[in-house]
């Protein structure tokens, strides 16, 4: 497959565009990466390809655009059959989709907790911890992490919850929050270490020092607009 047939519009710090890159690399699919500076100025290409949400990531394949990272992951899995991302069994697939969606809700809570202050922040931190506890018990502890199948041990679900491994610790720091306590989340932390032992992942992460500069700026922007809840 020629590289120019696959293009990915992404943003360096976005965990959503990163997970698409991980998937493409896992499948050995070559692609052109286009960096979109989504907060400064969105390109006309992005607005044309994703008019509904105007967001990244957007995957372009054979001239067709696919948006929404989890939907892109399924598209990738259905288009390139090597190294399957989703298991074959329908119930296992349903579980993977369920936890991917749940993990996204946790992301939103964590990010918004980072941007808020005082009592509201406290409330959101507690919500975040509660949600993570459900993942600790229901997902990481029982090793229910479902892999794509033989030969591949990182799949759709791992790619979907992977933000926890790298982004959550930084969000915690920037928001001065205590969320991922190793004593409270031993299975989660064990999984994080396993996930980060893969060079395919660690070679493709946004640098923490850049994140630590960017996220506080983002938090200021969110606070100043007073728009409240940031939806992803």
């Amino acid at each position: 497959m020629a590289a120019e047939k696959v293009k990915l519009l992404g943003f360096w710090i976005s965990p959503f565009s990163r997970r698409v890159e991980w998937a493409l690399k896992m499948k050995g699919v070559e692609y052109d990466y286009v960096e979109e500076d989504v907060y400064k100025s969105k390109s006309s290409l992005l607005l044309q390809l994703n008019p509904v949400y105007k967001k990244v990531p957007v995957l372009v394949h054979d001239g067709k655009a696919i948006a929404e990272s989890l939907i892109i992951l399924e598209y990738i899995d259905e288009t390139w059959k090597q190294n399957p991302l989703l298991p074959e069994d329908p119930h296992q697939r349903a579980l993977a989709r369920f936890w991917a969606k749940f993990s996204h809700e946790v992301w939103e809570i964590a990010f918004n907790a980072m941007c808020s202050t005082g009592e509201e922040k406290q409330k959101l931190v507690e919500q975040c911890i509660e949600a993570l506890e459900k993942m600790e018990e229901g997902l990481f502890k029982g090793k229910q992490i479902l892999t794509g199948g033989e030969g591949s041990n990182i799949g759709y679900l791992e790619l979907s919850v992977g933000w926890i491994a790298h982004w959550l610790p930084v969000i915690q720091d920037v928001g001065s929050m205590q969320i991922l306590d190793p004593l409270r989340f031993p299975a989660t932390v064990e999984w994080i270490n396993w996930f980060l032992s893969h060079s395919l992942i660690t070679d493709n992460l946004p640098p923490k020092d850049r994140m630590l500069v960017f996220l506080p700026q983002r938090r200021e922007e969110v606070a100043s607009t007073g728009l409240g809840w940031v939806k992803f």
Binding site: V52, H61, K64, I66, A67, E68, I71, I72, E74, Y75, E78, T79, P90, H91, R93, A94, R97, F98, K101, F102, K134, G138
Partner: protein, 218 residues
């Protein structure tokens, strides 16, 4: 092979209705269990401990939750009358619009209906934006319509019936013939589809459902 299929639902819920439509479409026999959402059964709490919500599909003892996840599960398990197309791009498109309906439209409509006086205007405009986008999708043939019901058609039950019913009950005009002629026309035809029609609540049932929701919110 004896298949045990059970559906925990609630009369009046669009999400529950979606699953009944899909099961009927595929000709699957199942036991329906009506849940009182103000007094949830121990079984519901057992099979959906995280969200404690309906619908929950139980198939041979395994539970599946979240209506769109359940619809995909049904499609992958029972192959008659496919809900999703075969082509990966078409599948992605269907998933995109089903998600848009649930994450944007249902939320925007809810906001508009429940909004306090001073927030209402803005909430209504946001809901109109969603409907405008949906009308565009309809014109681009993103909803299958007609005889076959696809994922987006099934998910759009909220728009065609519930949204229109709620706007009457709440007195908040969202989907009008004047503003969205194509979407309006589509919704009129939609609710006459024999399978859809079978699983739409009556006005009285809808009011009971809304009252229970109100109770839960308090």
């Amino acid at each position: 092979m004896a298949e045990e299929v059970k559906l925990f639902g609630a009369c009046g819920s669009p999400f529950s209705s979606r699953i009944q439509v899909a099961l009927k479409l595929k000709g699957i026999s199942y036991e329906y269990i009506e849940e009182d959402l103000t007094n949830k059964s121990p079984l519901l709490l057992k099979y959906n401990p995280i969200h404690k919500k309906i619908p929950v599909l139980l198939h041979n003892g395994k539970s599946i939750v979240e209506s769109l996840v359940i619809l995909e599960y049904i499609d992958e398990t029972w192959k008659a009358n496919p809900i999703l197309p075969e082509d990966p791009y078409d599948r992605a498109t269907a998933r995109f619009w089903a998600k848009y309906i649930d994450e944007k439209c249902v939320a925007a409509a809810g906001k508009a209906f429940w909004a306090k006086e001073k927030e209402r205007e803005k909430a209504v405009e946001e809901a109109w934006d969603c409907l405008k986008t949906l009308e565009g999708a309809l014109k681009d043939k993103k909803f299958a319509g007609g005889e076959t019901l696809g994922l987006v058609d099934i998910a759009a039950n909220f728009i065609a019936f519930w949204l229109r019913s709620f706007q009457e009950i709440f007195g908040v005009e969202l989907l009008t013939e004047e503003k969205f002629p194509d979407l309006f026309k589509w919704s009129e035809e939609y609710v006459e589809h024999p399978i859809i029609k079978e699983y739409l609540p009556s006005r009285d049932e809808l009011i009971v459902f809304l009252n229970k929701r109100l109770q839960n919110l308090k």
